[in-house]
Symmetry: C2
C-alpha cells in the first residue's frame, strides 16, 4: 500500500462518489497550519464507528458515540490542535455547538454530524475559531478534497496518511479510502489516533459495522507504540452507496470482500502511524505461530510487541532472544519453553529452549535488525493458532520528546 501511495502522489487520491472533503486553517493551531476538516455526504448514509476503550473519553467521543448509534451520519467535523478532552460538561456543549453550526451551514440535522478532535487535552475548545472557519470549510468541500482533509487532521505526524483499496461488488468495483492521523509515539498532552474510511459501496450499517470492527481488530488494534491508549481514539466508516446496486448482505462474498478491503486500507494507514513515531527507526512485525489458541497467540504477540526491554533492544539492533522469550513467558499462555523457536528475519536465534550460540548467527541477526522493516517469528510449538502485532523501536528520541518536554 505504501508504494501505491507514493506512486499516486499526495493529490492523486481517487474521489469516493457521494462524499466531499475539505481542510482549512481556522486558528486553533498557533502555527497557522490547517486544523479544521470535514467529510460531508449528500444525505445521511450508513455509518459505523469504533471508539477508544479508555474510560476517560473526550467530549467528542461521547457525542459521536451517542449519535452514531442509529447507524447513520451525514458529516464528520474534525479539528486538530485541541482534543476537547477532560473538559467536562463544557466540552460536550462545545462539541454540540460546533457540530450544530456545521449542520446549519449544510442544512442537515445536528444529530447527523459526528465530532472528532485531536490535540492538547484539558484546554477549552476555541468554539469561536471553529465556527468562524466553517463558511470557508464548507466552501472548500470537494470530491477531490481528501489530501486537504488528511493534512488538516494532523498533529505531530510527519505527514498525511492515506490508503485505498478496491473490491468487487456484483459487476462493479467499489473503492475504499482510509485516512488517518497519529504519530506512533503519543506526544506530550496530545491524544489520539483518528481513522476515517469512506466507500461508495452499497452497504447497510450492520454489515458495515461488522466489517469495521473486524478490520479495526486486525489493524489499529494490532499495532503498538507505547501501550497507552488515548481519550480520543476514533475510527469512523461511512458508505455512500453511490456505486449503486443491491445492498451487500450479511455473510455474503461481497461482505467478506468489503471486510478485506477495509482491512487492507486500514492496515496500510495503521502501519504508517507506527512508522511515523518520532525516533522510531524500525517497523517490526511480531508473528507468533503454533500457539495453543487464538487469544493466547495474540497475548504472546502483544506481550512481546509492548515490552519496553524488547523495544529498546530493537532500537539497539540487538538480537536479544532472552527478552523476547521472557516477554512470551509472562503473557499468561501455556507452552513448553523447550519447544520454542525464535527467528529474526530468517535467522534462527533460539531453538528447543536454547539460544543458538554462534557469533556468525548473531551477526546475521543483527544485520536483519538494521533494516527499516523486518519480522520476528516466535514459534511456540504448542498448537496451531497464530497472531501478529506490529511494533516499533523506542530510543532516545522518544525520551527526548516525552520526558524533556515540559507542559
Amino acid at each position: 500500500m505504501a508504494s501505491a501511495r507514493e506512486a499516486r502522489g499526495a493529490q492523486g487520491w481517487p474521489p469516493i462518489a457521494g462524499f466531499r472533503l475539505a481542510g482549512v486553517a481556522c486558528g486553533i493551531k498557533a502555527s497557522g497550519r490547517p486544523d479544521l476538516a470535514a467529510i460531508v455526504a449528500e444525505r445521511p448514509v450508513p455509518t459505523a464507528a469504533v471508539f477508544t476503550r479508555n474510560l476517560v473519553r473526550a467530549a467528542p467521543v461521547e457525542v459521536a458515540a451517542e449519535r452514531v448509534r442509529r447507524g447513520r451520519a451525514q458529516a464528520i467535523l474534525v479539528n486538530s490542535g485541541n482534543a476537547n478532552a477532560c473538559t467536562g460538561a463544557q466540552g460536550v456543549r462545545d462539541a454540540e455547538r460546533t457540530t450544530g453550526a456545521l449542520a446549519r451551514a449544510l442544512g442537515c440535522e445536528a444529530r447527523h454530524v459526528l465530532p472528532a478532535s485531536t490535540g492538547v487535552i484539558g484546554q477549552p475548545l476555541d468554539v469561536t475559531a471553529i465556527v468562524s472557519g466553517l463558511p470557508r470549510l464548507v466552501d472548500a468541500l470537494d470530491e477531490g478534497g481528501a489530501a486537504a482533509f488528511a493534512d488538516a487532521i494532523l498533529t505531530t505526524d510527519r505527514g498525511p496518511k492515506l490508503a485505498c483499496a478496491r473490491f468487487r461488488v456484483g459487476r462493479r468495483d467499489a473503492t475504499v479510502l482510509a485516512i488517518a492521523k497519529g504519530a506512533g509515539m503519543i506526544h506530550p498532552n496530545m491524544a489520539t489516533t483518528l481513522g476515517f474510511v469512506l466507500t461508495d459501496a452499497p452497504v447497510g450499517a450492520p454489515v458495515l459495522r461488522k466489517a469495521l470492527r473486524s478490520a479495526t481488530e486486525q489493524t489499529f488494534n494490532r499495532v503498538s507504540v507505547d501501550g497507552d491508549t488515548s481519550t480520543n481514539d476514533t475510527v469512523v466508516a461511512m458508505a455512500s452507496g453511490a456505486l449503486g446496486g443491491a445492498s451487500i448482505s450479511a455473510d455474503s462474498a461481497s461482505a467478506r470482500r468489503l471486510e478485506g478491503a477495509l482491512t487492507e486500507a486500514l492496515s496500510a494507514v495503521a502501519l504508517m502511524i507506527v512508522a511515523d513515531g518520532e525516533g522510531a527507526e524500525h517497523l517490526v512485525r511480531i508473528e507468533v505461530a503454533r500457539a495453543p489458541n487464538d487469544p493466547g497467540a495474540l497475548r504472546v504477540a502483544r506481550a512481546i510487541a509492548t515490552s519496553l526491554l524488547v523495544k529498546t533492544a530493537l532500537h539497539g539492533c540487538d538480537p536479544n532472544w532472552g527478552r523476547i522469550v521472557a516477554a512470551a513467558g509472562r503473557a499468561g499462555v501455556r507452552f513448553d519453553p523447550s519447544k520454542v523457536r525464535v527467528r529474526i528475519g530468517d535467522v534462527t536465534v533460539f531453538a528447543r529452549g536454547l539460544p543458538v550460540r554462534d557469533d556468525a548467527v548473531e551477526r546475521e541477526a543483527a544485520a536483519v535488525m538494521k533494516r527499516a522493516e523486518y519480522t520476528v517469528r516466535v514459534d511456540l510449538g504448542a498448537g496451531t493458532a497464530a497472531a501478529h502485532y506490529t511494533t516499533c523501536d523506542i530510543g532516545h528520541e522518544y525520551v527526548r520528546i516525552n520526558a524533556d518536554y515540559r507542559s
Copy 2:
C-alpha cells in the same frame, strides 16, 4: 528503614541466631568481584519461597521450587554473574551438581540446599568455578556474614540492599533480616530480583509461607521499573527458631506481627531496588484511593505506575495529569472521571474531571516532582478501596543501557 540502614553501616547488621552467611569470589564474574554466596542453618529449618510467575523459569528456580515444597531447607547457594536460565536440561543438572557439592561440604542432604542464580542468561553455568570456590565459601561462613553475602549476590546494582525489622513473640523480640539484589532497570541479558529473609522466630513453614506471600504481594509485587518479569525472580524466607518459645500459630497476633515485620523489611529492600535503577532519579509512590474494590485499586495503581508516558513525564518533572488520568482510564476499572482528583505531593492538579488550570499550581507541582521521593495520589471517588505501587522515572540512561548495549 533506609535511614536505619545508613545509621547501621554496611558491616553492622545484626546476626540472626541459627544462620551463618558468606560471600566470596569464585571467578564467574570476569571482574573478579564476589559472585558466590551462601546462607546455612544448623539443621533443616522451616522455609518458604515465592518464585517468578514467568513461564520461562531458570533451572535454579525449577530445582528450588521442587525442593522447597516440603517446607524445609538447610542452605541456600547463590551465584551471581550467570542466571543459569535458558540452559535446558544441562542447567538443571548444573544446579543439582553445585548444590550437591555444597551439601557434601556441609554434611547435609542435597534436597535441603536451594539454588539461586542471577546474571547473564543462555550461558552454561561454570560448575567448576563454583565447586572450586565452595571450600573457601564454607570456611567463610559466619553469623556476621550478612554484608559479604549481600555483596556477592549483586549484578548491576549500585550497592548492597539489607534491612531489618523486629517484632514481639511472647516476651521475646524476634529479628527479621532481609537481603536483596536487583537493579531497578533490568540489565541487558541480566535477569533477576532475588530476596532472602531470615528470622530467629519460632514458626512453622505454613505460617511462614502465608506471611511471606502476603509480604511479597505488598512489597516486591508493588514496585515497577519496566514491567518485565524475569526468569529467575525468587524470594526465600527461613526461620531458625533459635529465639526459642512456642511456635507461632496461624492467625495469632504474633503471626500478624511476623507478617508486619517481613513486610517492613522486604518493603525497605524493594524500594532500594527501584531507587537503584540506572538513570532513575525519582522514587514515586502511586496511591490510589476510593476505588470500587481492592483489585480495581491495584489495577489502577499498576496501570499508572507502569505507563511509559507517565514514567517519562516523571523523568521530565512534568505534572502531566493527562497521562495519569488516561492511564487510570484504561485500567479496566469502573469510575466516574468527573469525580477524579489527582494530587502531586499535596498539590491538587486535577479535580472533578478537570485540570486545575493555574500557572502557580503547575509550578508548585513541578517543584514537588524535582524531589528524589514523592507521592502521586489518585482519588477515584468510586468507593472505599485503596492500593499503592512504587515506581521510578525512565529517562535517557535507561535507553542508553538497554538499547545502546550490544549483546
